[in-house]
Symmetry: C2
Subunit: 145 residues, 2 copies
DNA sequence: CTATTTTAAGAGTAAATAGTCTGATTTATC
DNA sequence: GATAAATCAGACTATTTACTCTTAAAATAG
């Protein structure tokens, strides 16, 4: 079970943060990313292609090729990545799956979940990838392998 | 995509709340539940059997048989149901899937997610099924079909 | 121009999740 | 006891998600 986000989305989040830890413009190969993050090679390749098509990354073939952020890390949030890979369906569905659940015909946790949903959204937008990459470089943080 | 909870778990939540809307001890058939909640018959049958094995429901075969809550609705929370069907893994995993993420080696949203996780837990335990069934009976609430 | 290193693309496979079917068993009623 | 109405059990199928493989194409360096 991969809670909240799909596997591809989790991998995308990790990969983009990893790229943000590099100097701006520096390119990183799939090989390096999959080794550092322990993600299956060809699977991550697909995901990075997807992020490239969606305009979040740029790619270059050949030796010294690889992937880099298409825009400054400061302008990217986790939400951009989630939006690109999983979409924003989680902002809409009833948490218990009631088909009729809606604003004027709510289920009994509709309002609590609405608040939580907002908090999740806030978690995804309140900090940018540059700040997060800064964290990850510190020894007390996890992720880079 | 069935956010946060699996399909079987969503169906279980719906079914248990539906049962809590009945008079204590009254038995309800799979047929009635699937008609009211629009859930596939045989699939819900499996889920109810599971909840019965886990001790949340009691079942009776034969005409006038069906399912009922094994204990007073006041003593059941959504968390009991989630625990029985999906387990509590969502309280443990890193939201971005970082393998190394933990208390003393956190990812950059570790703390925000920890708070959110607690709020989700609170949403699941702060009200019991009796209260929620009470809500659902009111015309402005959704669920019973 | 050739060899090498990288991504691109698309088909294919595997595993997990969701949902179905059939037949047996239990219980109540006539 | 026979019949009917319900759950129980387990095998089966379908769909979605996760992951792999192969070949092509682009870029660099010699």
């Amino acid at each position: 079970m991969s809670l909240l986000f799909s596997r591809p989305c989790e991998y995308a989040l990790q990969a983009v943060i990893y790229l943000a830890m590099k100097k701006e413009g520096e390119r990183t190969s799939i090989r390096e990313l999959t080794a550092a993050l322990r993600i299956p090679y060809h699977f991550l390749a697909k995901i990075l292609q997807d992020l490239t098509r969606k305009g979040l990354l740029s790619s270059l073939k050949g030796p010294a090729g690889g992937f880099a952020l298409e825009m400054p890390a400061k302008e990217i949030t986790l939400f951009h990545i989630v939006e690109a890979i999983d979409g924003v369906e989680f902002t809409q569905r009833c948490v218990m799956g009631f088909q009729e659940c809606s604003g004027n015909h709510p289920c009994s946790v509709h309002d609590s979940w609405a608040e939580l949903r907002d908090s999740i959204y806030r978690m995804l937008v309140e900090r940018n990838i540059e700040e997060m990459a800064g964290d990850m470089k510190k020894p007390e943080y996890a992720g880079a392998g």
